[in-house]
């Protein structure tokens, strides 16, 4: 069964440093998402990406965040200057069409110290 692959599985970074989280989506899927989950809290929407541009973003997704498909296949989330409160699990998700289910990766645990 096709899988969404995320790397790294765990990243520890110092406050103020830049991090890039990577996702290899399922090949024929068109809609891409990033979600995050702070420990013990709900899964929260960050951003959706379709047709090579951001289609929706939440209030969390401020100027410190950006997304890209640098090579037309991989999908990345960059946090420019990390803060302690950015510590969370970050999930990449994608779906084939608007009305279908989304498949999630196993997540990247980001720890900001």
């Amino acid at each position: 069964e096709p899988e969404v692959t995320q790397t790294p599985s765990h990243q520890v970074t110092q406050m103020g440093q830049e991090v890039i989280l990577r996702c290899v989506p399922i090949s024929n899927h068109l809609y891409f998402y990033w979600y995050r989950q702070i420990l013990g809290q709900k899964v929260e929407f960050l951003v959706s990406f379709y047709n090579n541009e951001i289609s929706e973003k939440s209030e969390i997704f401020d100027d410190q965040f950006s997304v890209e498909r640098p090579d037309g296949s991989n999908f990345t989330l960059k946090i420019r200057s990390t803060k302690l409160e950015d510590s969370a699990m970050y999930f990449c998700a994608n779906r084939q069409e608007m009305n279908t289910e989304a498949f999630f990766g196993q997540g990247t645990r980001l720890t900001v110290v």
């Binding site: 809609y31 979600y35 989304a102």
Partner: protein
């Protein structure tokens, strides 16, 4: 404000003891309601999609139903391997993203 709530927050069952989890939603136009299972430290794993009131979906010991205001996930004769957090998520007609509920943490004791 659009909202998704789930109850109970946590549920402990004995193996074989059937029960139901609830997901209540208030959104202005439902495009779809999704159930996921999440194991500790892992990503959500897709279970079911429901699109309209009255719809039901079944998979092994799980059955999901949908009304205009809520969805139920029925677990029949659960086994310890069904222990996980069950998440409900809704997508509105005018949006692309999902709004997740807080989840129900299910423990099935042998």
């Amino acid at each position: 404000e659009d909202q998704v709530t789930q109850s109970p927050e946590a549920l402990r069952l004995q193996e074989g003891e059937s029960s139901s989890l609830n997901c209540s939603y208030t959104v202005s136009g439902l495009r779809g309601l999704f159930w996921y299972r999440q194991d500790p430290g892992k990503g959500p794993e897709f279970l079911f999609t429901l699109y309209s009131a009255g719809e039901e979906k079944e998979k092994e010991r799980l059955k999901a139903t949908l009304t205009k205001k809520e969805s139920f996930l029925h677990i029949t004769a659960p086994k310890p391997e069904d222990s996980a957090t069950y998440l409900c998520a809704v997508q509105q007609n005018y949006g692309q993203n999902f709004v997740f509920g807080p989840g129900t943490r299910l423990s099935v004791l042998p």
